[in-house]
């Protein structure tokens, strides 16, 4: 049940160490810290799903995408939402094609001949089955098993979680009319949650859990540099420092890495090299999404924030 291979081989590629993982992620544009790297390594080597939880914009979804890129594996993404159920996540029947088939059978007289039961068997066969993300991941025949991203599981309902727990335990799906599909090679599964509510412990325990934090200053500077090469180190450092200050202000929506990148891009385009109050005021909209947050930042003082950013940023650059 818990494989313990010292040099795990997945998909014919050896994942021999945490260092391999770090290199693989970095080469594909993701700058991980030690915690993320170790969690990914364990997930791959133990064949267990990876559960990533953290505030919006800390890089959860991007990590799953990067793993797929790195492994050269197809990415199958299931975006969760309130009320999502089996017919949207696992499989459904193609109702209109079933009806067409039925009419054709009637027109040709085949329906009367074959009888209701035989016709039903035809209608509920693989031919009319619509595979959704989970079933697609289980039946995927690519050379490298796919990465199944179950994104924002916290938006789905309890019942769906319970069902997922089952699927993730044995990687099989049973369709009463057809039979049971068993994954030949289990997909790499990544679940994410923004923690708008707690996901059940049982599901988390099935996985390796990692709480994803906002990046520290150094790493955020590196991420900006990697994503927006036109922005120089000094500006990247000022922006990262300013975003760090914003995150400490208890905003409704603290800026994520995407906002840092957007802000740096905008400032770069404006030709800014040193932050000042007016340019921050003018571009703050790329970072903050709520009016209340704007008010709060103004109330706490943009000038002080800029000063901090300069101290830290210029020192760094």
């Amino acid at each position: 049940m818990y494989p313990s291979r010292r040099t795990p081989t997945l998909w014919g590629v050896t994942v021999s160490s945490v260092t391999d993982v770090r290199a693989g992620l970095q080469a594909n544009g993701y700058l991980p810290d030690d915690g993320v790297t170790t969690a990914v390594y364990l997930s791959l080597s133990l064949g267990r799903p990876l559960f990533l939880e953290g505030e919006a914009g800390v890089g959860k979804t991007e990590l799953a995408k990067t793993i797929a890129r790195w492994r050269g594996a197809p990415l199958i993404r299931l975006q969760c939402y309130e009320g999502i159920d089996i017919s949207q996540a696992v499989y459904d029947w193609d109702y209109s094609r079933q009806l067409l088939h039925l009419r054709a059978a009637e027109a040709s007289g085949e329906a009367k001949e074959a009888g209701t039961t035989a016709l039903e068997n035809q209608l509920y066969s693989e031919r009319f089955l619509v595979k959704r993300a989970i079933l697609r991941a289980i039946t995927d025949e690519s050379n490298t098993p796919p990465v199944l991203l179950i994104d924002e599981i916290d938006r789905a309902d309890d019942e769906f979680e319970a069902y997922l727990l089952e699927v993730l335990s044995d990687f099989q799906v049973t369709i009463p009319e057809i039979g049971t599909y068993v994954a030949k090679q289990p997909p790499v599964v990544v679940l994410t949650s923004n923690r708008t509510r707690d996901v059940h412990d049982a599901l988390k325990r099935r996985c390796l859990y990692h709480w994803v934090e906002h990046p520290d200053f150094e790493r955020e500077v590196s991420i900006v540099r990697a994503k927006v090469p036109s922005v120089d180190v000094s500006l990247a450092a000022q922006v990262a420092a300013a975003v760090g200050s914003l995150r400490a202000m208890n905003l409704y929506k603290p800026p994520g890495i995407a906002e840092t990148i957007d802000w740096a891009t905008a400032l770069g385009r404006l030709g800014t090299s040193v932050l000042d109050e007016s340019v921050v005021e003018a571009t703050l909209g790329t970072v903050l999404k709520y009016k209340e947050d704007h008010d709060r930042v103004r109330e706490l003082g943009i000038a002080a924030m800029v000063k901090q950013a300069l101290d830290r940023g210029l020192l760094h650059g």
């Binding site: 915690g35 170790t38 267990r48 319970a162 069902y163 727990l165």
Partner: protein
């Protein structure tokens, strides 16, 4: 082999490093108040087999990935890990099942968070934690700030819903029900010569009831509100369909503030609006506001409404009674949690409470963690 470690294998027989480390460390964590269930410990062992046990970082992250499932537990984990790692080479601490003792020192005075071994030869690991266990019955009003922090962690574990409803197979079942509908549709369409007939869905609506929490933040509630707001916070982040408001001299909706933020800040914002801290509040008026603006428009409809208040009301008892009646007509159930309920001599003083009681289905205590635990049971059975 390694992977068959179960509760029946005695600790004494565990020879290999990863197993020993995992079992002992899990025990330290449990003593510290974390759950560390067996399946997580098995995962930890498997993780250690991959990563080895020599590097502190590797062992640390292996444990984080397998034994922790909530950010609130990280600081506890960190403290336990620091102590454990320091003593891991001391065989007398770990070699004998009988002898392993982890003692949790009540950490009243200080900031020193790392543990120390007893000076004697007694093989006891001492981990300093605050008084988790003793908190259970303690009155919120006598909590220190540190204790409030711990209480918040404990409250995070109080779940407003019980375990999964027995619905593991419900989704596929619903699926089958739907297929049957299609079949019936098809049969009907045979009968009517292939005429298209709309298929109907009959999925049952089994969503959990909404819970509306109304927290009194007036002056008289001050010693309790700062503890109770943590409970409300845990409830809001803990599940869907929970709404939270504060009642003071006016009504403030705090669901959004609580969703991802520090409950203290939400409380401060809400209580900034309380003009008169020394007196009672105007419960009846505020409740009218709730009914007008939210309650009877839908939010309270079919919901479990929980009022957390001592029932001191400066306004007219008639207004409160009238508003409770309005609320009672739409709500599924009204629960009143009163932290002063256990205080002797309190009852006759609170006119408001007396006026409200006829409309309350459950009237319960709310002064301690134990009382709140009881509250979660009442709510989930409501």
């Amino acid at each position: 082999m390694s992977t068959t470690t179960t509760g029946s294998t005695s600790f004494f027989e565990l020879r290999s490093g990863p197993e020993r480390i995992a079992v002992v460390f899990a025990r330290v964590l449990r003593q510290a108040g974390l759950t560390a269930p067996l399946d997580s410990v098995l995962t930890f062992i498997a993780a250690l087999e991959q990563l080895g046990i020599d590097s502190r970082d590797n062992v640390y992250w292996a444990g984080r990935a397998s034994l922790i499932g909530r950010p609130e537990d990280i600081s506890l984990y960190d403290r336990a890990f620091a102590v454990f790692w320091e003593h891991r080479e001391t065989p007398e601490y770990f070699d004998d099942d009988e002898q392993l003792k982890v003692s949790i020192v009540l950490d009243d005075e200080d900031a020193a968070s790392e543990g120390v071994a007893n000076p004697s030869d007694d093989p006891t690991i001492t981990v300093r934690f605050s008084r988790v266990e003793t908190l259970q019955h303690k009155d919120f009003a006598s909590y220190s700030d540190d204790e409030l922090d711990i209480a918040r962690q404990l409250m995070g574990r109080l779940k407003l819903i019980g375990p999964y409803r027995r619905s593991l197979r419900r989704a596929p079942t619903r699926r089958r029900a739907q297929s049957t509908d299609v079949r019936r549709t098809l049969r009907a369409s045979f009968a009517s010569d292939g005429e298209l007939i709309r298929r109907r869905f009959t999925a049952p609506d089994e969503r959990p009831r909404r819970i509306v929490l109304l927290l009194d933040v007036s002056g008289s509630m001050e010693p309790y509100a700062r503890a109770l707001v943590r409970f409300v916070h845990a409830a809001v982040v803990g599940r869907q369909r929970v709404e939270a408001f504060t009642l003071g001299t006016r009504l403030t909706r705090i669901t959004r503030e609580l969703n991802s933020r520090d409950p203290d800040i939400a409380l401060r914002r809400a209580s900034d609006s309380v003009a008169d801290w020394s007196g009672g509040t105007r419960l009846g008026e505020t409740l009218r506001h709730f009914n007008d603006r939210w309650g009877t428009r839908g939010m309270a409809r079919g919901a479990v409404v929980v009022v957390l208040s001592d029932g001191w009301d400066r306004g007219s008892p008639d207004v409160l009674a009238e508003q409770m009646q309005r609320l009672g007509r739409v709500a599924h159930r009204i629960v009143w949690v009163n932290p002063l309920k256990v205080t002797p001599g309190y009852a006759p003083l609170a006119r408001g409470m007396a006026a409200a009681l006829p409309y309350v289905e459950d009237f319960i205590e709310g002064h301690s963690l134990d009382a709140l635990q009881h509250l979660t049971k009442v709510i989930s059975n409501a």
